[in-house]
Amino acid sequence: MTLKTWALKKSIWLYHANVGACNNCDIEVVDCLTPRHDIERFGMMLVGSPRHADAIVVTGICTRQAKPRLQELYRQAAKPCLVLCIGACACTGGIFRDCYHFDGPVDEAIREVDPEAIIAYVPGCPPKPEAIIAGAVKALQAIPD
């Protein structure tokens, strides 16, 4: 295990990016952070800048307007960096995939910047907080040593 991956796995700091969500997934993300599920006990904490983040938590369909901004966020995050696609929209585009403003899905937008990106998918509309935590755990396990 390199120093970088050791440091990454130690305590994940999250940057939350809404790229066109209906706010439902965002509420579930907040539910993860607040006392009931309290993922801060695992060292996971919301931060205000992608430069401090170990994982980018993405909700929403990735609209035309948001796509270049999401890509810029990913570029600014220190690598290695996880991407968590929260919800059906972020995973596939969901029911909005034929809409005029759709320019995703999120994984394609990220892979345009970094083909090797580690992306976890948490489907659901919205996914349960338990599912989000499970997704984060699986993403951590996927990190190559």
Partner: protein, 169 residues
């Protein structure tokens, strides 16, 4: 229709008589007023200033013949919604702005322009509002002629397989 609603219909008909409007009540709390485009701004002013209607929102619609813009006013004292419907033909596609009367119509008219392409004359700030920066000019996504859906007439491969199995004896 209850008595309050009936009273409002009569008042509106009387006040807007010179604009040759049609006032129709649908349900006990909903009134529709159709007004020709040349009178729409003045009718809006009367509804806002004299009837003290509060502009809840405005909506736009692309119908087969014309583009309709509907201004929805709440009459808060009686809990009644009055919808002022006006229209414009698709070639000209221009209406008088209501945002010159009150600021509340500013953003919703910009949105209607973005999505349906209705130009609002004398609008104080006719910039793009909700479409993406890289969206092409003059393409209006909520118009009927905007083909957004993928071609659904084409049968997907797995369905074609299925039909072949069924039809083959």
């Amino acid at each position: 229709m209850d008595a309050t609603c009936k009273q409002w219909v009569q008042d509106l008909e009387k006040r807007l008589e010179s604009f040759r409007v049609s006032v129709v009540a649908r349900g006990s709390r909903r009134i529709y007023v159709d007004v020709a485009p040349q009178y729409s701004r003045e009718a809006n002013r009367i509804l806002f200033e004299e009837f003290e209607g509060r502009l809840a929102t405005a909506t736009g619609m692309d119908t087969p013949l014309r583009i309709e813009v509907l201004y929805h006013y709440c009459l808060d004292t009686d809990g009644i919604v009055v919808t002022l419907r006006t229209w414009t033909d698709k070639d000209q596609c221009e209406l008088d702005s209501v945002a010159t009367l009150f600021e509340g119509a500013n953003f919703i008219e910009r949105e209607i322009h973005d999505l349906l392409g209705v130009r609002f004359r004398h609008h104080p700030d006719p910039r793009r509002l909700i479409l993406a920066d890289n969206w092409p000019e003059g393409v209006y996504p909520l118009r009927r002629d905007f083909a957004t859906r993928r071609d659904r007439t084409e049968t997907p491969e797995f369905l074609r397989e299925l039909t072949r199995e069924v039809t083959t004896p």
